[in-house]
């Protein structure tokens, strides 16, 4: 049974409407940002360090928000026919809160880390479920199933948001003065953390671009702009990975501009998707159907989140040269 058919089947027996899901999503988003920000007092520390940490965690939060809205909408479309489907948006909300919370070396600091680890675990499990959903349908691992059965990229994004969260945690608790306390499991030095983050974001950009590529291929690249997210982000991802392997000043500058481009692309992409929804029958007047049938509006902004994490990684990597 496909997600779409399930949606039709379940909708009759369920009183939750899409407006309720949308409202719920927005409330969860606001709440997550509020809780996260409340747990995030200013701290005096190295400006590069702080800036990088902030950026990385804001990036992770944006990614989490994208996953939250996207999974809420898609799983609504799937009628939440499997109870576990509520886990995805719920975990994404936890992930946003965790990303926004100020990391602390004390016990309360464990909570956000747990949140990130949970996102990662739920994302990975979701990937397994979705893979199973794809392969059990007639045709198995066919294009039609990759296009239309449970998407592999979506839980992947949740896992990525957990991974970014964890890496940015490592960044935030990295000792600024180079002295490790030895208390922290993830106590990397700042440049080390920067490398880790560059690698994580670079890889994530490749994976996310692959997902965009699959879905834009499904849309037959009917608008030439659809090529942008399958070219700019993977190039940036490769640059970031290159920087992680072998950081150079000039390379960093190029990568920084590329990452800024990706950040802008996330916003431009959202605008394109809003336009894309309008091109479906009934346009935004008919949003209850078209926002589900058209291109997913919450998806492109994940590129902005990833780009911010990438920029943070570059900041942290830059600190290496300054300190050495």
């Amino acid at each position: 049974m496909s997600a779409r058919q399930a949606a039709h089947r379940e909708r009759g027996s369920r009183s939750i409407g899409l407006d309720a899901v949308a409202a719920g999503g927005v409330i969860a988003l606001v709440a997550a940002f509020a809780i996260g920000s409340a747990l995030r007092p200013e701290r005096k520390s190295d400006p590069v360090h702080r800036r990088a940490t902030r950026k990385a965690r804001d990036g992770a939060a944006i990614l989490g928000a994208s996953v939250l809205m996207d999974s809420a909408m898609e799983h609504f479309r799937g009628g939440f026919h499997n109870r576990a489907m509520v886990l995805a948006p719920a975990t994404a909300a936890a992930s946003i809160a965790a990303s926004l919370a100020e990391p602390r070396p004390d016990r309360t600091g464990r909570l956000p880390r747990l949140g990130h680890a949970l996102s990662f675990a739920v994302g990975a499990a979701g990937l397994g479920f979705h893979f199973y959903n794809v392969t059990k349908r007639p045709g198995g691992l066919s294009w039609n199933n990759l296009f239309y059965a449970a998407p592999l990229g979506a839980p992947g994004a949740l896992a990525i948001s957990g991974l970014l969260g964890l890496t940015s945690e490592a960044l935030s608790i990295a000792p600024v003065d180079g002295n490790r306390t030895g208390n922290e499991a993830l106590a990397w030095s700042l440049p080390e953390a920067g490398r880790g983050l560059a690698l994580a974001t670079g890889g994530s950009l490749l994976v996310t671009a692959a997902e965009a590529g699959l879905l834009h291929f499904r849309g037959a690249f009917h608008n030439p702009a659809m090529w942008l997210p399958v070219t700019v982000p993977p190039a940036t991802g490769l640059f970031l990975i290159g920087e992680a392997a072998n950081p150079t000043d000039s390379g960093r500058e190029v990568t920084r501009w590329a990452a800024r481009g990706v950040a802008v692309l996330g916003v431009v992409g959202t605008a394109f998707h809003v336009w894309g929804v309008h091109r479906n029958m009934g346009g935004w007047h008919n949003w209850r159907q078209t926002s589900l049938a058209g291109p997913p509006t919450p998806a492109p902004i994940s590129f902005t989140g990833l780009a911010m994490a990438g920029l943070a990684a570059l900041d942290a990597l830059g600190s290496e040269e300054r300190s050495s």
Partner: protein, 556 residues
């Protein structure tokens, strides 16, 4: 939906809409686009009778090449967004329902399943299955030993398939399991619905290939058309314009290139001069008969109306009808056997969701060496999604079930699935269109359609029923039953290389009257085991190019 309430009226059916230099904008609810207009006494380059697959393509391509074109259609010029309702009865306005006489050993049921009557032709209500001929079928006689050869090389046809598939933004699978490798379809295949997955399950259980059906409806936006919304009203006319019918593809192109479309304009006769050349067409519009002068007349009214018009255009020089020195006008009419198996399932299928035939199987079009294949020709079959009255009607006509029995059957509507064949029938000279004694409201002789299956046709559909039955059972269908029927029309004015055995040449030009052409489904020498529209479109695109090339050489 959008909150707008629309009221249907029958304005399109009562008064012509393409008048005063304006034609309906099919992408709007009430707007118009500018249209060229020619005077009756102005000798236009091309007068085209019919605006479906054949006429629509020619109107667009000939006008784009600079020709002056007037295309006539007996039916209305609809704006789908405003004129189409999700109602089976209302949408009967799309069919050619004028009385026709049907006889022979197996009289064809004429109406909704054969031909349309509106600008855009039968594609306005066709089911969008967009398949190509198997290459060998273009040489069926030489290579496979039955039927007749086409005067066309398959490679040329394949180039034109590609052209028309692009023009109609066909959504098809990445890998098509049968036949030579083809280029990528312009759009990706749609999600296969539950009814299609029944076919898929059955095919996998029997170990044969299946594929998401290439469909003539959008899986992503194109121009002013939105993607398909999967409401399944396709056979009664798509009210979203996702379906890429000729009405929303070639007709707007034709208008933009300067062609004139005359809706609610029935052509009754092609006039000829004393040298036997066509001079133009007599047509009935707005309550009176008129005459349009033309240098060339192209007939594209489909397999019944094209022969009818040619036969009715007899004159002293052409006593048996125009282009009929071979005596073949109206002969070799073909249908597709459209028999089906149906079964009930434990799970809900809701087969009306989405286009009706989302999965297909062409196995028996290619399995020449299978020892159980005891027939010439081939057949494809597809998953089904009939709308309720359509399905109820086919049950009543096939099984006679009525009253509580019918009600009980229809109560299972949402848990049913079916497989329906498109079976090749042999071109037989005695399956034909002739003129009857009776006259229609315009005083034109009604067509008589005579049809009977030959033994090969019967073996073919018996084989299909048996195979589809096994497949639906392998997919865990219960309480299986069968229905019979026909779909599509082909032939009636076959093209060929010899004036004695064909009506027109490979360019669609009649052997007898050099400025009279035929370009529609009636040209097909054989029917093939696939739905015909793509082949008719491709052939029309090819003929258009041949006409344009001949024009450059000064031969047109």
């Amino acid at each position: 939906m959008s909150g707008r309430v629309s009221v249907l009226d029958d304005a399109a059916e009562l008064r012509p809409r393409a008048v005063s230099g304006r034609a309906p904008d099919v992408f709007s609810r009430e707007d118009c686009v500018p249209m060229a207009q020619f005077r009756d006494e102005e000798e236009v380059d091309f007068a085209i009778v019919g605006t479906g697959c054949g006429g629509g393509v020619l109107a667009a391509k000939l006008a784009e090449a600079g020709g002056s074109v007037v295309a006539f259609d007996a039916g209305p010029f609809f704006r789908p967004l405003a004129d189409f309702a999700s109602d089976e009865r209302e949408q009967e306005k799309l069919y050619w329902l004028e009385e026709r006489i049907s006889d022979g050993e197996n009289p064809i049921e004429l109406g909704s399943n054969n031909s349309g009557r509106c600008v855009g032709g039968s594609t306005v209500h066709f089911q969008m299955v967009a398949l190509r001929f198997r290459p060998e079928w273009f040489q069926a006689r030489t290579k496979l030993g039955y039927g007749a050869d086409w005067p066309v090389d398959w490679r040329e046809m394949w180039r034109y398939y590609e052209e028309v598939e692009k023009a109609c933004s066909i959504s098809g699978p990445i890998r098509y399991p049968w036949g030579p490798k083809r280029g990528r379809y312009p759009y990706r295949a749609h999600e296969v619905n539950a009814a299609g997955l029944v076919l898929a399950r059955g095919a996998e259980a029997l170990g044969i290939d299946w594929a998401p059906t290439p469909l003539c409806t959008l899986s992503a936006p194109h121009g002013k058309s939105p993607p398909c919304v999967y409401r399944g009203m396709c056979k009664i006319g798509c009210s979203t314009n996702a379906k890429q019918s000729v009405l929303v593809t070639y007709i707007p192109r034709a208008l933009a290139a300067g062609a004139e479309i005359r809706d609610l304009a029935t052509v009754g006769r092609i006039e000829t001069d004393r040298w036997g050349r066509a001079t133009g067409v007599a047509y009935f519009r707005e309550g009176r008969w008129r005459f349009q002068k033309a240098r060339h007349v192209i007939v594209a009214g489909y397999s019944i109306e094209t022969p009818r018009l040619l036969l009715n255009s007899h004159s002293a020089r052409h006593p048996d009808g125009l282009a009929n020195s071979s005596g073949l006008v109206g002969r070799h009419l073909m249908v597709h056997s459209n028999h089906a198996v149906w079964a009930e399932f434990d799970e809900e299928i809701r087969w009306y969701k989405g286009p009706p035939s989302m999965a297909c199987c062409e196995h028996w079009n290619y399995a020449d060496d299978d020892p159980t294949k005891d027939f010439d020709g081939g057949y494809a079959f597809m998953s089904q999604g009939p709308l309720p009255s359509d399905f109820a009607t086919s049950i009543v006509t096939n099984s006679g079930e009525f009253g509580m029995d019918l009600r009980a059957r229809m109560a299972k509507y949402n848990r049913m699935a079916g497989l329906k064949m498109v079976g090749e029938t042999m071109p037989q000279a005695d399956n034909r269109v002739t003129l009857s004694e009776g006259k229609d409201d315009l005083g034109l002789p009604r067509p008589r359609v005579t049809f009977g299956y030959c033994d090969n046709d019967k073996r073919l559909y018996a084989h299909a029923l048996d195979f589809m039955g096994r497949m639906i059972e392998a997919a865990e269908g219960k309480n299986r039953f069968e229905t019979e029927g026909t779909a599509h029309l082909m032939g009636g004015c076959r093209m060929g290389e010899d004036p004695k055995t064909s009506v027109v040449n490979a360019d669609g030009r009649s052997w007898d009257v050099p400025n009279l052409w035929v370009c529609d489904g009636s040209l097909m020498p054989t029917g093939g085991g696939v739905n015909p529209s793509m082949t008719i479109l491709a052939n029309a695109a090819r003929i258009a190019d041949r006409m344009i090339a001949a024009g450059r050489r000064g031969e047109v």
